[in-house]
Structures are given as C-alpha cells and as structure tokens.
C-alpha cells in the first residue's frame, strides 16, 4: 500500500542535542515532499518543502531536510534543538495519482525537548 512512514513516534532530547526524524514514502515517480509542525495548542503549519533542485532544503527555525531519492527518504534535521521545538512533526507527500493529487501525511513524531 502507498504510505508515508515515520518510524520514530516519540523522541525526547535535551536542549542543544542534534535531531533527526525519519520519513520514508513508498511512492515511485515524482513526489512533492513536506514537513509540517504542530506546536502545543496551535494548528499545523509548514516547516519546509521540497519539489526539485538541491536535495538539501532549509526551512524555518534552523530546520533542514534532505531528499534521498534512492532511499525514498526525506529526513528532517536540526543541529541543536531548543525547548521551543517541542511539538509534533508530520511528514507529507503530495503525488499525482489517477489524475488527481493526493496529499498524504505520516503518523507523526512527537518531540519533547527538555530544558
């Protein structure tokens, strides 16, 4: 089945630790890739996106993600997390299927950063 997988469901880090959240998708062909974030009590919002070009994309708040086509992955990274990064992170894929786009989300990774 076509899917977006986020293997880490819960991650706990101390401030200044490095972060990497995994995202794998099972679609072939052209895909548009996104990471969304939901801070406590807030709505989902875009963190970064990749369509084409440089596979290393930078987003807001020091986040970056790398698209590795051969691994069907789009992992999210941040060199040094802050307490304010505590949130839930969702990977998403938008892909043309049977003439229409399907915007599919992963199950999410809940990140807790300890001060």
């Amino acid at each position: 089945a076509q899917s977006v997988s986020q293997h880490n469901h819960h991650v706990i880090l101390s401030e200044a630790a490095s972060l990497e959240l995994g995202c794998n998708y099972s679609y072939g062909g052209t895909v548009n890739l996104f990471w969304y974030v939901q801070y406590p009590g807030q709505h989902l919002q875009l963190l970064l996106k990749y369509f084409s070009g440089d596979p290393l994309v930078k987003g807001i708040k020091g986040f970056e993600a790398e698209f590795i086509k051969s691994k069907f992955s789009f992992n999210l990274r941040k060199p040094s997390v802050q307490w304010s990064d505590t949130a839930e992170y969702f990977c998403a894929v938008n892909r043309l299927t049977s003439g229409t786009y399907k915007y599919i989300f992963g199950t999410g990774t809940r990140l807790k950063v300890l001060a």
């Binding site: 977006v4 989902l44 996106k49 938008n94 043309l96 229409t100 989300f105």
Partner: protein
Amino acid sequence: EAGVVQSPRYKIIEKKQPVAFWCNPISGHNTLYWYRQNLGQGPELLIRYENEEAVDDSQLPKDRFSAERLKGVDSTLKIQPAELGDSAVYLCASSLENRLGTGELFFGEGSRLTVL
C-alpha cells in the same frame, strides 16, 4: 490576513445524533481539504475540493458523511448519524494549488468531536 477558520472548536454529542462542521478557507484559495485526525495518528484525507468540485472523496464514508462547498468558498462537513468511532479532530485546510502539486496547506484550528 485571516487564516482558515473552523467552527465549532469542540462538540460533544451522543451517538446517533447529527453534527456539522463549518470551514471558511483563506480568501482566494481554490483547493479545500477535510481531514480527520485520530489521537496519535496523522491527518487522514476525507475529501478534497477544487473550487466547487469534489475531486477526491474516495476516503469519505458516504453512508454517514456528506460535504459541500458552496460557491467554491465555505464548506460544511456533516455526519449523520454519528458513531462512537467518529470521535476525532476534524481539520480543514486550504491551498492555492497548481498543476504541479506544490501548494502549501494552511490548516484551521480543527473541530474536536467527542461522541458519547
């Protein structure tokens, strides 16, 4: 600029009762989505509109769920009758979509439904 507005924020009903959710997307956005998010899960697409047309409703349980988007702007999602398993957060999102599928989704705060 106003974001995506949803109402109500919270709704508690007994099973077999009807419920409706309303969404006002960002002005000018041609595409509107309804997602359902269960606890500990990612958003699951229920229906996607391009202007007034429902272009993808393959995941909408049509025996009890219905949706409409009047004049290509506001949208309502209805459940009748509600079941216990419908308890979830119902998210509305809008985007200015293009043929390349690169549009960013803008989400509302969500409507949290509890069915007793």
